[in-house]
């Protein structure tokens, strides 16, 4: 019999909606792959911070002796070195979502495109507002990813007559989204649109807008593809006309191509870039997964 192939999967702990989705898809894929390929062993570990994730990498190698690593890095920069350490030990590396800061470390890169998420959102905003209006922005947690999204969004918006009244961090958290939006609503008598960037935040924003009774005045663009939000888009909710996809299922892609590399010996190297698809009432049914927790 063939030797067991061990794939380590290191992802952030489920601390908010999107990472929750990552966890869900990783677990589902783990089970499916194990069933399909009996000689495959998949070790799934989670971490609450970049430093902790570096720990899990050490553990995956020292304890589980992994042959391949699928990693969704907490943050690109701090994890580049620890991943490279594994690479030097001969571990096959698949990076998902956030690229490492050093070329050539990743064998496979399944890229979520944070720039695109910001850009697509911005482009929709410009189109829907007809190039002018007052908007507010709720950002995530201060991180590089958030910067990519925000900067790309602003690039698109900057040339137009769209005026960003203010932005605040909402930490990809519903309660923060609610509170920040409450205060924006109190502060600005006229808001034409809200870019919430994340569906968790958008949920909070919706409630704040409802409370203020200003549903007719504005619309909200979230992001990620949470099932509740996709459902609203499907139902052609005025408040949530679209969503921008940043599917947590990308971890499944990463795990699958990595598994493929070992079971088929096919040469699966290179980059897989996942689009930041704009979900509209027309295509929403394609992205609706009622069983997913996210």
């Amino acid at each position: 019999a063939q030797d067991k192939v061990v794939i380590g999967v290191s992802i952030p702990a489920a601390t908010h909606g999107w990472t929750g989705g990552i966890n869900y898809w990783a677990k589902v894929t783990q089970e499916r792959l194990k069933e399909t390929y009996p000689n495959l062993e998949i070790i799934l570990v989670t971490a609450g911070s970049a430093a902790e994730q570096a720990n899990t990498l050490e553990d995956l190698y020292a304890i589980h002796n992994i042959d391949a690593l699928v990693i969704l890095p907490f943050e690109s920069d701090p994890l580049t070195d620890p991943v490279e350490m594994l690479k030097m030990q001969g571990v096959f590396i698949t990076v998902v979502d956030r690229g490492l800061t050093k070329e050539g470390v990743a064998d496979i890169y399944v890229a979520g495109d944070n720039h695109a998420l910001g850009r697509v959102s911005g482009e929709y905003m410009v189109e829907a507002l007809g190039g002018k209006g007052d908007i507010v922005v709720l950002r995530g947690i201060p991180t590089v990813i958030d910067n990519y999204r925000f900067d790309s969004f602003m690039e698109v918006v900057e040339g137009t007559d769209i005026n960003v009244l203010d932005w605040q961090y909402a930490n990809w958290n519903r309660d923060d989204g609610f509170q920040v939006m409450q205060d924006f609503l109190a502060r600005f008598p006229k808001i034409d649109a809200v870019w919430a960037q994340d569906d968790d935040v958008a949920l909070g924003v919706i409630e704040a807008v409802k409370q203020a009774g200003r549903e007719e005045e504005l619309f909200i663009v979230g992001g990620a593809g949470m099932k509740e939000m996709i459902a609203r888009v499907m139902e052609a909710d005025r408040l949530i006309p679209v969503d921008v996809l940043y599917p947590p299922a990308m971890i499944a892609t990463g795990m699958e191509v990595t598994a493929l590399r070992f079971v088929s010996n096919a040469s699966v190297l290179g980059e897989y870039i996942l689009d930041a698809t704009l979900v509209t009432p027309e295509n929403a049914h394609l992205y609706y997964f009622p069983d997913s927790p996210f």
Partner: protein
């Protein structure tokens, strides 16, 4: 022999709720912050904004009232935020389940509220029991249960979000968004909890024993106070407060996830201490705690109402204001 002078102060003391600079201090800080807020942005004083700010303070405020008793005995509870998340999750699951048989009725909601209470009491009891019977520092035990509750809600939500059935949500919504005599319901609940808390603390044997234990554990023991029982009771009370906070939290967003209630424990403890309760126990002030919770809420609001300073520095401004607010109290005391 000379008799105690029954001056006005002493008379006021007899009202059960005592007024002194220590109590006024936090409210002075509230007023100062409100002036600051108005200066930065006159919108601050709008009815809508003030209502938001005060209403928001209800969650941490209610939890902080429970924490006042715990800190009054010289202990700590780090698990409250996670417990709130877990309770929310359980309420949602329970309502989603009941709605299938009972429909979207008040019965369903009331049953879920009952469940929250039971869970709060049980959770608090477990904390208190392990702390007293195991003779372990409360910091460690509640750090442990903090992790446990948070994990459980993550597990229940499969890492994602637990969402309340839409039909119930419509029914339940007014509990957060509704008003009674023009006052938001969460504020009324907050007020009631504070009044009950103040009575418990100042007018009952339980409250007296709490302060006695915080003042000197050994003396309390030698005064025939069942120290362990009172300590467990403070944790049960804390659990109940968390449950009440949960009950008004769930209708706000109708969902719970692993991020729910993150950091509430620090906020609640800070509210208690800003309010003039000593970390080492022995003195506690419910109305100070109420002011402390409001202070927190106002600081957050002020930061969102202005963008003079880089948003990156919000945390710094918040930190400075917290320290400043407490310094202000201290200085006034001299």
């Amino acid at each position: 022999m000379n008799h105690p002078t029954t001056d006005r102060q002493a008379r006021l003391k007899q009202l059960g709720t005592r007024f002194s600079w220590q109590d006024i201090g936090p409210f002075a800080a509230v007023v100062a912050l409100m002036i600051l807020g108005t200066t930065i942005n006159p919108t601050f004083l709008s009815m809508a904004n003030l209502t938001n700010v005060f209403t928001r303070s209800a969650f941490t405020g209610i939890i902080a009232i429970g924490a006042t008793f715990i800190i009054g005995t010289g202990s700590i509870d780090l698990s409250v935020g996670s417990m709130a998340a877990f309770n929310s999750g359980m309420m949602i699951i329970f309502m989603n389940y009941l709605v299938k048989t009972w429909g979207a009725t008040w019965a369903t909601i009331l049953a879920a509220m009952g469940l929250a209470m039971v869970l709060g009491i049980v959770g608090g009891f477990v904390n208190g029991f392990v702390i007293t019977k195991g003779r372990i520092e409360s910091f460690i035990v509640t750090l442990g249960t903090m992790g446990i509750f948070r994990s459980l809600v993550t597990y229940l939500a499969d890492g994602g979000t637990l969402s309340l059935n839409l039909s119930i949500r419509v029914l339940y919504r007014p509990v957060y968004y509704g008003t009674l005599w023009g006052i938001p319901i969460p504020l009324i609940v907050f007020g009631l909890v504070a009044v009950v808390g103040a009575i418990l603390l100042n007018k009952t044997r339980f409250g007296r024993y709490v302060l006695a234990i915080g003042s000197n554990y050994d003396v309390a023991h030698y005064s025939a106070i069942n120290v362990n029982r009172i300590r467990v009771l403070t944790y049960v009370l804390q659990g109940l407060c968390v449950a009440i906070a949960t009950i008004i939290y769930v209708p706000r967003l109708g969902s719970a996830s692993s991020t729910t209630g993150l950091g509430w424990e620090l906020e609640a403890i800070a509210a208690v201490i800003i309010g003039g309760t000593a970390m080492k126990g022995g003195s506690a002030r419910i109305w100070g705690t109420v002011a402390g919770a409001i202070i927190f809420s106002i600081i957050g609001n002020i930061l969102n109402l202005s963008n003079v300073i880089s948003q990156y520095l919000n945390g710094a401004v918040q930190g400075l204001i917290i320290i400043g607010a407490v310094l202000l109290q201290r200085t006034g005391k001299e």
